[in-house]
Symmetry: C2
Subunit: 332 residues, 2 copies
């Protein structure tokens, strides 16, 4: 249904189009925004009309990407989606008044890409869509400016946990080298992307760490934050996602649990597991879901009861047989 | 006093020596241990006698580097120090019964290398000594095995905070690409180096974070650990280096200070700064030294006095003119 397109031809189509609409996935991350912005700047440098459309606002820390946002001010000759695995992931912009949005070209690195676009450049071996975009933009004959390089570096760095995850390859590092030579400022970008925490985040982390507990003979670690503690810390609740990887990163721990109380009083439970432990199986037993090593659910009740319920299911999975599926992917 | 030696000649000297003693710096980190181990494996693959000497034990998590340790069982024809900026940093092994140890060759990336060796290969633009060692080992005509690649990757990754710090260059990424192609397992190594913490480390971090203080209108954040707290936590003191980046990573903080009490009672002060703030200038005023954005010193006295002394010098530098030198270095 979709037709695969090599890098050179994808570049040619983008270059030949008089005007291009670039689509991001909803809840945008560094890769979809970095790719869309890089492509916008590349097309603009060729004098083309281009703009970026995303169902959700761009988080403030990505402000330096400086894409032009689409305001319906031109009728695109070509529509391209970057880092978008399926039409649903476009969110509110998947539908137009005329029906499902027609996407001419998709540039992506998700193995599960649904093939929704007329033409697709999909490489599941690329650590980030930005790794592919590097090649596409060079094939367009565009000089990598510091601005374009910063956008693409953002995609590479965020999708690989700054070159830490298993999806990082020699190709990823070579792409990063090219971007640094083109003017990407590693220090500034990584400070924005990884190194800076608010005082509120520090305070919330302090409190959460003071609640650290070990269970199930040390195979399970957990921590929690009540809604009052979150409010008192001054942290933006959206900035507390990092906490979820903390208990699972402790020596000997096979399942790490994080309990964050929501404004309504329920508990959002995040489950992170070591290789060979099915986080999704734990979550499913509690009405939730997710991936093999990162899953979650939401439960009502007093913290002690919620903890006991999740620990019981965690014990059942830890003591049960290993999941069959080999766990290889960690990147997004 | 020391004679500079290009990569090819350093490689030739190492290759020609019948037996080689490889020296690490005290409180060994991933770069000095990764380099020493890589060089040991490279020399062993050529059938040479070689072994590694360090004043302190190798932290258990670096066990996979598998160097052969020196037991005084051979008289080295050549002594080489890796990632060692001065003789003092050799610690207890700087002295032999015959007097100060004679070092024939030094391979290092510290701009402040004291030139203690007869021949020196020092490149301050290298993010890690391991970046230099990659070239040296290839110039020795040694095939990069997965074991050697894992050792060198360890040096690169630990000295750059996994390619996050400002010292990371295009060259660093290219070296990483070569090492991955040679068989370095990014996922396994980074899990060991960055994702796993001992219970003791978690406890030490909890205590240190509970001591977090803001000073100088929020431009300075600091935390500390007494020797009793370190002992009670059960953490290996060598595993507490990560703490040093914590205070400097808080929004608005220009200088982050960490005070770790040493077994003898003195305070090891680590200084990390934002762009434009000269950490080394602060350290030098207190008898220490280091890089532009990562420096340190060691002070005697009660914690309150030590804090006051360091805060006074920090204030002087924060209120003074910006350093002239453009800021590029952050590694150790």
């Amino acid at each position: 249904m979709t037709q695969p397109l090599p890098v050179q031809q994808a570049a040619a189509r983008l270059k030949e189009a008089g005007s291009v609409l670039i689509l991001c996935h909803k809840n945008p991350d560094g890769d979809t925004l970095g790719c869309a912005s890089a492509l916008y700047h590349a097309l603009a440098s060729l004098g083309r009309t281009a703009a970026v459309l995303c169902a959700d606002p761009i988080p403030p820390r990505f402000g330096y990407l400086r894409p032009r946002l689409y305001r319906g001010d031109f009728e695109p000759a070509l529509t391209v989606a970057v880092d978008v695995a399926s039409l649903q992931l476009l969110g509110a912009v998947a539908q137009t008044t005329a029906g499902p949005r027609r996407v001419d070209l998709c540039i992506d690195h998700h193995a599960g890409n649904s093939g929704y676009a007329q033409y697709s450049l999909v490489d599941p071996d690329a650590a980030a869509a930005a790794e592919l975009l590097c090649d596409v933009i060079e094939a367009m004959g565009v000089q990598l400016t510091p601005q374009i390089a910063a956008c693409l570096y953002t995609g590479l760095a965020t999708d690989t946990g700054c070159f830490r995850f298993a999806n990082t390859t020699a190709q990823t590092h070579r792409a990063a080298a090219r971007l640094i030579e083109a003017g990407a400022r590693v220090d500034e970008l990584n400070t924005i992307l990884f190194a800076t925490k608010s005082r509120g985040q520090m305070e919330a982390e302090r409190v959460a760490r003071s609640h650290l507990e070990y269970h199930l003979d040390g195979r399970c670690a957990l921590l929690w934050l009540t809604r009052e503690e979150i409010a008192a810390s001054g942290a933006d609740p959206a900035d507390l996602d990092e906490l979820t990887s903390l208990p699972a990163g402790i020596e000997g721990v096979r399942a790490g649990l994080t309990f964050r109380q929501q404004p309504g009083g329920s508990w959002r439970v995040s489950i992170r597991t070591a290789q060979g432990v099915d986080a999704c199986a734990i979550a499913r037993r509690l009405g939730g879901g997710g991936h093999l090593r990162a899953a979650g659910c939401e439960l009502q009740g007093a913290l002690d009861n919620v903890k006991a319920a999740v620990l019981a299911e965690t014990a059942a999975v830890l003591d049960g047989p290993e999941p069959e599926q080999p766990d290889q992917k960690e990147g997004r």
